[in-house]
Amino acid sequence: MFFNSFSFALFLPIVFLLYWFVFNKNKSTQNAVLIIASYYFYSCWDWRFLFLLVFSTFLDYYTGIRIEKAKTETGRKIWFWLSISINLGFLGVFKYYNFFASSFSEMLNGVGLQTSPLLLDVVLPVGISFYTFHGLSYVIDIYLKRIKAEYNFVDYSLFVSYFPLLVAGPIERATHLLPQVKVKRSFDFEKAKEGIYQFIWGLVKKVVIADTCATYANAIFDNYESMNSLSLLLGAVYFAFQIYGDFSGYSDMALGMSKLFGIDLLRNFNYPYFSRDIAEFWRRWHISLSSWFRDYLYIPLGGSSGGMTMKVRNTFIIFLVSGFWHGANWTFIAWGFINALYFLPLLLLNKNRSNMETVSLYWDFASFKVFFSIISTFALTCLAWIFFRAKSIEVAVDYIGRIVTNRNFASQYLENERYNYEILLLVFAFVITEWNSRTQIEPISGKYSMVKLALCLFAIIALGTYSDYKEFIYFQF
């Protein structure tokens, strides 16, 4: 059941009505409705994985309490590492086992030892990377005595399984979400209205931008050997907007619908393609994951406290792990590595904390420099996305090589029966809209909101891509 499906269009109003009109007595009944709805929502993909979700929830709930109640440091450590091991074990088996087994086998074959890896025939449970990280942050925070353990199982379950964030985040923190589910929510019209606007804008990003760009990006990437330089360049740009529209659109829908239930989720995107350097990009892209790695990996590794060498090492570690988090493929690791390389000069020059304020442009030379830095950051990002999208590192390198060597910048007719340039106007209109609303959550609210709402609805109805349906990219992670 996807957020942009017909079944979800029935599911959401039913849950909303039950939540506010039938089970609105206290926070327990409100939470009960949400947890039942969340489990139903998750079981719509594959009911068997519901057991995994419930087990994972119970594991962290129980070990959290045991860590808090442990009388000795050894006891605390045992429960802590038990939780970490099982959580990462599940993730390892379902997501990474086949990758490690086949990579190891290939390595042995490379040195002349013929082996065939024993691979598991399992489907990756949807959302496992996200809810595992919820649980991990909770247990780590208890271990580090940042928070108290949660003793109410329903409340804790809702923190892990809350359906708007269950399958593709944002990756919530117990310190942010748990206090909200511990109190009865009252209906707030302004918040709900804002939620509707954000949900609709998320839908625009998904069906109008991401899915339309996807048809072009796929036609180019899947046939890259017959594409000219212009098509290959546009393919990278289209994929950049596909993945941004897809993931930030999903996040907007999640945040928007959550507001309908009176719950605020962490912001996940903050107009990343207007970043002036790669450090700013990573403060604006998939914020909940970046901050998770910062708090639970970078800082525990020593962060930036141990001198430049330590800083560089830790930066590379979090980028590589971040790449690997996205999927069991060398392309994701390469993508992480490239981003670490981009980050390196900023780190060495101690410029990774510049560009903190909202970007502005005027008709002066300084703005020209800012504009150039935005474009160059976007170009670097697109280059890295090629590795993210390509089937293998060899393909990505070949793709980039052809951009340089082909040197044909003519229009080209693609396999999706469209010319390579046809959606540039749409992409440009989207960029302008985002630019004008970069200081707010979404572009609909404010003056003339009904007109802007009508335009968004028009875009969804008339400009959306529906017959060539695309799943959310981040569901596979």
Binding site: R418, M450, L457, F458, I461, A462, T465, D468
Partner: protein, 291 residues
Amino acid sequence: MKKFLIFTIRILLLTVLLLIILDFIYTSIYSHSSKRSKVEQVYTSKNKDYDVIILGSSRANNHFVTPLFEQKGLKAFNYGMSGGHLFEASLLLKLMVERNYKIKTVLLEADLNLSNEERAEGVSARFLPYIHQSKTIRDHFSKENDFRALYYIPFYRYIVFDTRIGFREAYKTAIAATTNSLDHLGYYPLGNKKGNMKNNIANLKPLHNKYYEEIKQICKTNRINLIVVTTPMCSTVLGMDYFEKVIKMYPEIHNYEGVVQGDTYFSSCGHLNDAGAKKFTSIIISDFFTK
């Protein structure tokens, strides 16, 4: 909460209003166009005289060189539609009859397309703009599972078939951009071999196809001479006994599967190139239209 419910209802009403307005605009655009597809050409025309009408799938569209019929003094048009099934061929013929076309002969390609009775989504979508205006189209779609949604929900058909009749196509239609589908009297020539010269049709089974039966019935009722043929396949096809099954099931179908030999005449295993199509059409004209 009351304010929110009113707000939600306003959004829903706005959405419905947009759906109705867009439906009206798109339908109006398609109703005034006759240059972009064979379906709209037939839909917007009346009282045409033809000696030969060609119907079928891409294996008609790419195989019957209509100008060769014209050279023989026969007024002809190739209404074969790439990707089309007999569902669409039958409907197109119904529309022609409804529009008082005077047709002496229908030349129908019926071979691989006999194996299914489903509509071809991409091709059948071309009829959908007119579903409210044409009883013939409405009736033809009425047995389809999604008929109610297609018919009753405004703009639904333009959303689900957006790649065929969505915004881009409506825009191109509105600015009267032409396509090549009506060039060469409907015949679309293919280039030299570029596809895979292998094909496996072993799993195909010819059906007692209701749309083929419909075409036969329409021709009989309207005294149209019906010639049904199979068309060539390349030599490396697995499951060629399919054509024997077709002939056994429908003895009136003329088997021309093997009349053009050699991969040099093919663009892909199921499609002749221009040279192959000319050779094939010459044989057909010689066999059926030289008296």
